[in-house]
Symmetry: C2
Subunit: 249 residues, 2 copies
């Protein structure tokens, strides 16, 4: 059974205003829900279909959260997926806490990425390349946006992140900052870069003037054709790939 109030509450979490107010967000689909259940996030409420419950009885047996049994239809009614025959979880946000890079660690910094699909894809890329810490400039799209969660494909559970002032962080960390620019040293020419921060900018404006001052190396993805630019998630992937190829901590 799904009460009217629960339906109303989960639907309210589609909007940022109510996510911020309640400190909660939702996760949907089999893979993502399984990942969040096995992560350091606290799940408050778990809605599952009988099929999901049977298939993942072992995972469910360890769940502390309130569990409700629902139909696929009900999941689709409260969530954003057109089709969801598995599960939906209401999850507590984590506090926005700063972090300190470890020695030899590569850190990702995003200066105001605006598109939730791009942010989710970037989180998935970071997770692929073993980058565990991401700093977002305050104006970056909200991590808990359902489209970010969805496109991260579960990787949102494995990165540590905070929203804050990039300049303050760069000052405190005293690490080399590699900024992605359309003009700079080719990443194919880099030799033995020191571990540090990979910084990517906004979809249309790139890295802001204020933050640019703290970039120690301007680097670029060499172009061999005529496209004017690459999507920011694509650029992030190519940066991570080249740095991981070169940096061996």
């Amino acid at each position: 059974m799904l009460s009217k109030n629960t339906v109303k509450f989960i639907k309210s979490l589609h909007q940022k205003k109510y996510r911020v107010e309640s400190g909660k967000f939702f996760v949907e689909g089999e893979k993502s829900v399984l990942e969040v259940l096995q992560s350091s996030f606290t799940v408050d409420l778990l809605l599952v279909t009988q099929e999901f419950a049977t298939k993942h009885a072992k995972v469910l047996s360890g769940v502390q959260a309130e569990v409700g049994y629902v139909t696929a239809n009900q999941l689709e009614q409260v969530g954003q997926y057109q089709s969801n025959d598995a599960a939906l979880a209401v999850v507590q946000m984590k506090p926005n806490q700063g972090f300190t890079p470890l020695k030899g660690e590569l850190i990702l910094a995003l200066d105001e990425v605006r598109d939730p699909g791009n942010l989710g894809t970037i989180i998935r890329i970071a997770d692929w390349y073993g980058i565990k810490k991401i700093i977002f400039y305050t104006q970056t799209v909200e991590f808990y946006n359902p489209k970010v969660i969805q496109s991260s494909m579960g990787s949102f559970t494995r990165v540590q992140f905070y929203y804050g002032d990039l300049v303050q962080a760069f000052q405190a960390w005293k690490l080399p900052v590699y900024g992605a620019f359309l003009e700079g040293e080719s990443i194919h020419q880099l030799t033995n870069p020191a571990p540090g921060v990979l910084l990517l900018g906004n979809e249309s404006q790139g890295i802001s003037k204020e933050v640019e001052k703290w970039v120690s190396s301007k680097v670029t993805i060499p172009s061999f054709g005529n496209a004017e630019s690459l999507n920011v998630a694509i650029a992030t992937a190519i940066f991570c790939d080249n740095f991981k190829r070169l940096v061996h901590p």
Copy 2:
């Protein structure tokens, strides 16, 4: 003025059925329309705002197509952009003609990519890396889908492509085929690969068994973390980047 019939016709081109029937598709937005006007595509009808016409008078002076002056509102009514204060073009499809790779050329092959956003992004990536020829397995999403056109950011005008049988093409070309797999030789370990075909598979199924038989080298993007996979457009970018770094025709 925009006749009811013209509105109806352009709106019909939102659907594949009518695109195929008429052999036409549409392109919207300032950048993409400018690119298609200066490409080898034949534009049949061009709708422009007064602002666009004034700004790009020089380009327009060379246009052979019928030109209609419209408002932003009318553009948004017939197209798919939420906001378009520039232009929309109705363009003729090109015949589906095979091509022969040049000596030393890198070719991209897609085995059934299904998402139009992915295909458009892949076309933009190919254009960035100077890859001029792409072969699509017949079941790949339609090149002229408005979302493909949109996400290619004008790059659709600069690639030669055809839909056909991959196996037949590989047999005819006698080139090395590098297939993207989750298990294979790391692209970071490749040394002096010969120019040939970069092959990527479907979003969830990867490369089909039938096509896999014709892969000469299985290659993979090394993972340093825990994400299970990468999006196919992201994988294409990383493949292109590594091959362009290594292959110097």
